[in-house]
Amino acid sequence: MASKAILFSYTNYPELTANLEEAGVKMGRENMLRHGSFTFDLQGISRATSHQIVRHRIASFSQQSQRYVRVTRSYGYLKPPGIPKDLKVPVEFQGHKLELNFTDVMDLTRQAEEGLTTKGIKAEDARYLRPNAATTNIVMSMSPRQLIHFFNLRCAPDAQWEIRDLAWSMYAAVRLAAPEVFGPLPAADESDYIKKRVSIVDDLVRKEEAGFSKTPPGELFQLELQPMLELVHPVETFVRHY
């Protein structure tokens, strides 16, 4: 199942600036960066990536619990595209030599975790067997200023492929939702890699603006990022239209 980034709640800047203008106050872009919030629902991302995401400050996170959501109801994993599906590695277990691929190991850990819970072990303990590839869902909110910091770091070529793909997907989403706030990334000045992709996002957003504005209020609009952005893995990207 593909990962998803859904921008489902965010500051309505046209309304905010209109309310301020009514009170005789003009809101500049610098102020917009600080006075607002963007909330994403990130679905089906690996725990490896969610660990990287929750390092960012100031931000707010609500993540799916492994204690309260049974493994049998929430199990999934993300195989890094860099590991070939049929690549097997030799392992030795109690004198038996086995050849296992990535999927085999994930299947074993799932069976072991389910087995422990079946034998009455609490989910909070059985989950210690869950690998970093296990998928999770997380709701995340940041101000525009923090998001730009996040994009500068995580859209960079040295960021890991999964969080980098996610960061580009989120960047495209906020560009579409709030063009008055988000423009080219400051990091583009120092990186041709970022500069090239920012310009691809420019084109994508320009192309999708009309479709987005026609989306009924409250409905999701899907942004097609591939093949233009050359993401390493699929991230379905959606923006809720107000």
Partner: protein, 152 residues
């Protein structure tokens, strides 16, 4: 004008309730957020109607599970002196302030901070007025905390 509410996200309480439930559900936040009728089947989940949102938010208040109330921003234009603004900034890392002129400020925070201010014992006139706007931005929370609608 002393406190003028100028912006907050639509469906702010529904967003917080969905974020809360997403911690304990196999279903992700947005699926819960839009689970408004029987047409959409979410195994094991109750319909996300007003009653459900009310129940989840009141539970969050009982448990002190305030972090789920952070998924939003609320912005006001206020007339205040620097001392009052400093008090707000010292009360939480979530306050963002911009000075418009000597007495006028743009301030932004989230629902969590307002709930904490509402429950604190230090009720400065400015915080009372900010908290009173919960009646518009977050009526379920305002009702649960019995926030007076007047500024007094």
């Amino acid at each position: 004008m002393r406190v003028r509410l100028v912006g907050y996200e639509p469906d702010l309480e529904r967003v917080c309730a969905a974020a809360m439930r997403s911690c304990y559900s196999p279903h992700p936040g947005y699926e819960l957020f839009t689970h408004t009728s029987q047409d959409k089947v979410l195994d094991g989940e109750k319909i996300f109607d007003a009653e459900r949102i009310d129940g989840l938010l009141k539970r969050a208040l009982e448990l002190g599970h305030y972090d789920i109330l952070e998924h939003n921003s609320i912005t006001w234009l206020v007339e205040a002196d620097q001392k009052e603004i400093l008090f707000l900034m010292e009360s939480s890392k979530f306050f963002e302030t911009s000075q418009i002129d000597e007495q006028k400020w743009l301030i932004t925070t989230n629902l969590r901070v307002l709930v904490e201010l509402a429950r604190s014992t230090n009720h400065l006139p400015l915080t009372r007025e900010l908290v009173a706007t919960l009646n518009e931005a977050a009526p379920i929370i305002a009702s649960a905390l019995a926030i007076p609608t007047t500024k007094s």
